[in-house]
């Protein structure tokens, strides 16, 4: 299986606390079980309001797909992943496009996910985009 060392973010749009906890627990389990480099083990940072999380790890590429996120949400909602809808857009924070996917069910958007710099980015490129995002959104992430 191919691995990619990247930064990704998730944003809770309408999950309840139980659903959010279940999703975060699944996300925290991503990444390798062990690695000599701490940077490649899954680690994260949570926004001040607790609704956004940035994860970094040497991810299995298969877990970064929209379908994989639909499966996770389907499990959390106990529904067929095919019932999960999505819409996509791209945002540029510094110099690369960051794909942003919004996942929902019915008329409600529940989760937003972004892979900084895109899945083809190098770690350094993904980091630059993540830093650009954080600088642009300091009030949500930087404590007094």
């Amino acid at each position: 299986m191919a691995r990619k060392h990247l930064y990704l973010a998730i944003e809770d749009l309408a999950l309840n606390a139980t659903q959010r906890g279940a999703l975060v627990a699944k996300m925290r389990a991503l990444g390798p079980a062990s690695d000599p480099q701490p940077a490649r083990l899954c680690h994260w940072r949570t926004s001040l309001n607790g609704k956004k999380v940035i994860f970094e790890a040497n991810f299995n590429e298969a877990v970064l797909t929209i379908d994989a996120m639909k499966v996770r949400l389907g499990n959390i909602f106990s529904v067929d992943p095919a019932m999960i809808t999505h819409s996509s857009m791209t945002v540029q924070f510094v110099m690369r496009n960051t794909p942003v996917v919004t996942l929902g069910r019915g008329s409600t958007d529940y989760l937003r996910m972004a892979v900084f710099g895109g899945v083809s980015a190098t770690w350094a490129q993904s980091r630059i985009e993540t830093l650009g995002y954080l600088v642009a959104n300091l009030a949500e992430w930087e404590g007094a």
């Binding site: 480099q37 701490p38 940035i54």
Partner: protein, 245 residues
């Protein structure tokens, strides 16, 4: 008689050592994390392995200060090294002390990203009793903070754009009623007086290299190396010696 490495203020303290880390040890720190690990999450303390820290997210094995040792890169997003242990907290003296850390930004842009970034924090809480060195959120400024008994002493210097290693030191002494800041071996800013009285033990969630609190709000963007702590205020001559290889 040989030099008593690791004792408090070695009898022959300050003798020039062939290896920088030996020089640091010759001054008798209570804790010393070289941050030179090649792999793994342990941040070894050269003074006492009961004070080993824990790396999280850092990229190890980066070029160091030029002493032959490597150092970690802190990514400015979610990396830090937890240096709290009960053993270290017991040894730490909030009334008398010195902290040394070598820091280097990952790029000149770090000075102008308007982001609060911590090099090191040793704290009871966020406002009343703590020692902290950080890149101020106002661009191009470094800050040295000593707060004791809710009396805050802050030294800042500005117009900075250093892209090379910076040996940074803070000293505090309630006995002498002085707090001082040093960069590149020289004192910066004015000596602060009228210090407060430290109260409280170090917090397990507020002792980090590269961050100030466990929830990650001010991560360092760059490299850190040779983090050492003393329970006395080192002299300017000693600090100058520790600021060169």
């Amino acid at each position: 008689m040989g030099m008593l490495i690791g004792t408090k203020r070695a009898l022959l303290g300050g003798r020039r050592a062939a290896i920088y880390s030996d020089k640091v040890m010759s001054y008798g720190p209570i804790a010393y994390w070289m941050l030179a690990e090649a792999s793994g999450t342990d941040a070894f303390c050269q003074v006492d392995t009961n004070q080993n820290g824990l790396h999280s997210g850092v990229t190890l094995g980066q070029p160091g200060i030029g002493d032959g040792k490597t150092c970690p890169l802190y990514d400015g997003v979610n990396d830090r090294t937890n240096i709290y242990t009960a053993t270290f907290a017991s040894a730490f003296d909030g009334a008398e002390g010195t902290v040394l850390i070598w820091g280097k930004v990952s790029g000149v842009g770090v000075w102008t990203d308007s982001t609060d970034r911590t090099l090191i924090s040793l704290a009871y809480d966020d406002s009343t009793n703590r020692v902290r060195l950080y890149r101020h959120p106002t661009n191009n400024i470094l800050a040295w903070v000593y707060e004791a008994g809710d009396v805050s002493k802050v030294i800042t210097i500005g117009a900075l754009s250093d892209i090379d290693w910076m040996p940074l030191v803070i000293t505090w002494s309630k006995i002498a009623d002085q707090m001082k800041a040093f960069k590149d071996g020289a004192q910066v800013g004015a000596t602060q007086t009228s210090l407060g009285t430290w109260a409280g033990a170090l917090s397990s969630i507020r002792c980090y290299a590269g961050e100030r609190v466990s929830t990650i709000v001010t991560p360092w963007d760059g490299y850190l190396a040779h983090c050492a702590v003393w329970d006395t205020a080192l002299s300017p001559a000693e600090i100058l010696d520790l600021s060169v290889l």
